[in-house]
């Protein structure tokens, strides 16, 4: 990896009220290389990139792009000077067409004000052809599946013909074939001499695609090394600052008798069809499958968050209906939703309110007045039992890290004393250290005799935590495997059964 630097960020610091988000961080990207940026959530990766892209203004430090010092004041400036970015959160105008999104901020015009639809369509086709993206340019964004929207976003970043392209967790909503597609695009960009900054939590991806890896921890630079000299264990060690000997805690739960029996469950407005399975006391049942295979639908139909078409649910042999989340909670169910920020937390409300919200009737004094004392006691229990790191109960939940937010929500559900916990991607967007703690919590619950159903797109996690794994494919149950005697290959084969 010879050659001069394309991008050099030196001694970048950035402080938010009360937090030092970046402390003297440096990053050097050479042309024609993929530079991975790794670190736990809250390590400052995205903040560093936002400083580069003109979304945040850095407090100190210098950024040199192509031998020239730059300090972008807006995204527009960054884009015009050859820096493009695929953002972590999908930032799209959903009510507008694909091509309107692609050229937003730089519409091809006739005479400066009139948008040339023809030129726009032609240029969109060209880019989609170059990148082999199969999306109709005039489709309205909201009608596309999330993975296609992400591919449009990637095509958009490439279309700026930038020198430096930042990919901030681009694969979180992509299927495996699309990840391969993305990697082909990245390799192409690398061959063209672009400098790629690649942020991801997925170690396998990092080791495959990147040339160099920079690791950050708590807003500081930890190490920069060639990817070929690194192993997964070393990366984790550098990220966490200590050695993680095991990725999964020991399993001591013992599945007992069947408590939940689901037969022929089908969704009315979703693709879920004819799902039958059982759950035992003290068991962790995993649900595997590709994106869109109906994993989430199993949980949400079971919980009454989606409308059922048909099917029977028996809890301890007694038929229940779970027509709405309210009814399901009364029946002893709890659902940890997939999109924590959108449907899990109440961001601007404090830890206490977020903890007691599903259980308010238990804090009523005389039937109308909520007792602050009782709520504080239960919240204190949750903070202690879940090992939640928070300055106080009155902290806004959005200021906590993803892992701590997730623990607050698990605590919320435990207060309702559920018998069956439905966990949808419980460790999504959570850093490695906190994942271990979440696994521990899940296994503890099973040991206490609760039944847990857990959806995950991370295969190792299913194999490490679950007793049995249900594999979904095309909205149907493709098979069921024992996690002790199965392999990732077997699960993948089942997952492709009805695709």
């Amino acid at each position: 990896m010879e050659g001069t630097a394309l991008l050099e960020m030196r001694g970048i610091s950035k402080e938010f009220p009360g937090v030092k988000a970046l402390d003297n961080v440096s990053l050097t990207v050479r042309p024609g290389t993929v530079h991975a940026l790794m670190g736990e959530n809250g390590a400052g990766k995205s903040t560093l990139m936002k400083c580069l892209f003109g979304i945040y203004s850095k407090d100190s430090g210098t950024i040199v792009l192509d031998g020239k010092e730059v300090d972008f004041k807006s995204s527009k400036e960054a884009l015009e000077n050859g820096v493009a970015m695929v953002h972590q959160e999908l930032n799209q105008a959903l009510t507008r067409s694909v091509q309107d999104n692609l050229w937003l901020g730089r519409y091809p015009t006739v005479g400066g004000i009139m948008v040339s639809e023809g030129a726009m369509r032609k240029k969109t086709r060209e880019i989609f052809n170059d990148l082999a993206v199969e999306v109709d340019p005039s489709a309205i964004m909201r009608t596309l599946p999330v993975s296609k929207r992400q591919m449009v976003e990637i095509a958009k970043a490439v279309s700026y013909h930038s020198k430096v392209i930042v990919f901030d967790e681009p694969t979180s909503s992509l299927t495996e074939t699309e990840v391969e597609h993305l990697f082909r695009i990245i390799n192409m960009l690398r061959d063209q001499g672009c400098g790629i900054i690649y942020i991801s939590h997925k170690m396998e991806e990092i080791l495959r695609i990147s040339d160099e890896v920079t690791i950050m921890r708590d807003g500081t630079w930890v190490a920069t090394r060639p990817a070929k000299d690194l192993t997964m264990e070393e990366i984790i060690k550098l990220m966490v600052g200590r050695e993680l000997t095991n990725r999964f805690p020991p399993k001591n739960n013992e599945p007992g008798e069947v408590i939940l029996d689901v037969e022929h469950l089908s969704g009315k407005y979703t693709r879920l069809k004819d799902a039958s399975f059982q759950l035992r006391k003290g068991e962790v049942l995993g649900i595997a499958g590709l994106d869109g295979s109906g994993r989430t639908e199993v949980l949400e139909n079971l919980f009454g968050a989606m409308t059922k078409e048909s099917g029977t649910i028996r809890l301890h042999g007694r038929e229940i209906h779970n027509r709405s989340p309210r009814e399901s909670i009364k029946n002893g169910f709890a659902l940890l939703t997939e999109e924590r920020r959108a449907t899990g937390i109440f961001g601007i409300r404090d830890i206490r309110e977020n903890t007691v919200i599903s259980n308010l009737k238990n804090y009523l004094v005389g039937g109308i007045c909520l007792s602050n004392k009782k709520m504080a006691e239960d919240t204190a229990w949750s903070i202690q039992a879940m090992h939640i790191k928070t300055p106080s109960q009155s902290t806004q939940i959005r200021s906590l890290s993803g892992g701590n937010q997730q623990k607050v929500i698990i605590g919320r559900w435990l207060l309702t004393k559920p018998e069956v916990l439905l966990l949808d991607e419980p460790t999504r967007g959570i850093d490695v250290g906190a994942k271990y703690e979440i696994y521990q919590l899940i296994l503890n619950l099973a040991e206490e005799g609760k039944g847990v159903i857990m959806v995950s797109s991370e295969m190792p996690e299913l194999l490490g935590v679950c007793d049995r794994i249900l594999v979904m494919s095309g909205g149907r149950v493709a098979g069921e495997v024992d996690s002790k005697n199965t392999s990732q290959e077997e699960i993948l084969t089942l997952a492709a059964k009805y695709v």
Partner: protein
């Protein structure tokens, strides 16, 4: 293929057909109901569909349209504009006062100014409207205030400006009337006649403004930026859209439209007071909502707004023609239409789970 499976397929196809018809009816329910209402009124009162009545409906639609076209942009940005009516009032009074007849100097508000040419007054009042609109937009974009709050504030501020304006010069708070013939002819003069009933000229102006606004919304970078901003502000920002300028411009453009409405109203009302234009924003917002400009943001069509204004006028004029109809019920019907329209509109954007 067996007989049975053929039958099954047939049933499935029929079911899909019925569902499609149902969706069509629901998506166009408002228009269907309005047409039924119009037919009903036409049957019980044959005067409803006479040439005179139809021209009346078209003229009124034309008069209310520009303000609705302006406010539509604010709604696309998930905002609203409560100051529209007072801006219409202010610009109507300014237009009227600058275009009073010179034949009766004693009652003229500004005797020292002769009657100005209309082509000086039109840009002037549109500029006044645009300036107030830009003021709204500045507060919305700079301080991230909700347009509801900002325009509630400017509504009151503009009302004071209006109250003071009508006391200036020789006017002493009287109604501003006695307009110059060049002004009233320009606005109300016959465009063409159907039989012996004339279509006023301002219908043509509304058509021209509608065409211009259609072009701005659909064909310009500004229009596309406006929709993108209403759909997802963050996406617009990181794509390099100048969010501040776009927001200010949307409100300024709306202001210019109110200014033009004021110019038309000045001549149409003929006797202008501080009450001119009162509550115009509510009809304009209602028309936009009926026409499918969604408060969800980033959604709306010029054709929808035209239909919305037309529907509202049709119903108002129609209700007046139902014998024995109690006027007090007009507001109830208007309210019901707005609720019904919004509920139908939201139905399109909800995904069933």
């Amino acid at each position: 293929m067996s007989q049975e499976s053929k039958q099954l397929q047939e049933t499935a196809r029929k079911a899909v057909d019925i569902k499609n018809v149902g969706n069509f009816v629901l998506n166009n329910a408002l228009i269907i109901l309005m047409v039924i209402a119009a037919i009903y009124i036409a049957i019980i009162n044959p005067n409803f569909l006479t040439t005179g009545s139809i021209i009346n409906i078209i003229s009124q639609t034309a008069a209310y349209l520009p303000a609705a076209l302006g406010i539509g942009g604010c709604i696309v940005l998930t905002g609203t504009d409560l100051s529209a009516g007072r801006i219409v009032g202010l610009t109507a009074c300014i237009s009227a006062s600058l275009l009073q007849s010179t034949l009766n100097m004693a009652n003229k508000m500004w005797p020292e100014i002769g009657a100005l040419p209309v082509f000086v007054v039109i840009p002037l009042v549109m500029l006044v409207g645009a300036a107030i609109g830009a003021f709204n937009g500045f507060f919305v974009a700079k301080f991230k205030l909700h347009p509801f709050i900002v325009t509630l504030g400017t509504q009151l501020i503009v009302y004071t400006m209006l109250l003071i304006y009508v006391t200036l010069g020789n006017n002493n708070g009287m109604a501003i009337a006695n307009l110059d013939k060049s002004y009233t002819d320009f606005v109300k003069g016959p465009l063409f006649s159907v039989g012996d009933i004339a279509v006023p000229r301002y219908v043509l102006y509304a058509v021209i403004l509608t065409a211009i606004m259609w072009f701005i919304w659909n064909k310009t970078t500004f229009g596309k930026n406006m929709f993108a901003l209403g759909s997802n502000e963050e996406a617009a920002k990181v794509s390099g859209v100048n969010v501040f300028a776009t927001t200010v411009l949307v409100f300024a453009l709306a202001g210019a439209m109110y200014g033009f409405t004021g110019f038309i109203e000045g001549a149409r009302v003929a006797s202008n007071t501080a009450n001119t234009g009162f509550n115009y924003e509510l009809d304009a917002i209602a028309a936009c909502v009926i026409g499918g400009v969604s408060f969800v943001g980033g959604i709306g069509k010029i054709s929808g707004i035209v239909i919305g204004v037309l529907m509202l006028r049709l119903i108002f004029i129609g209700l007046n023609m139902i014998p024995g109809m109690n006027q007090n019920f007009f507001y109830l019907i208007k309210g019901a239409i707005i609720l019904f329209a919004c509920a139908l509109d939201m139905r399109k954007y909800l995904t069933k789970k």
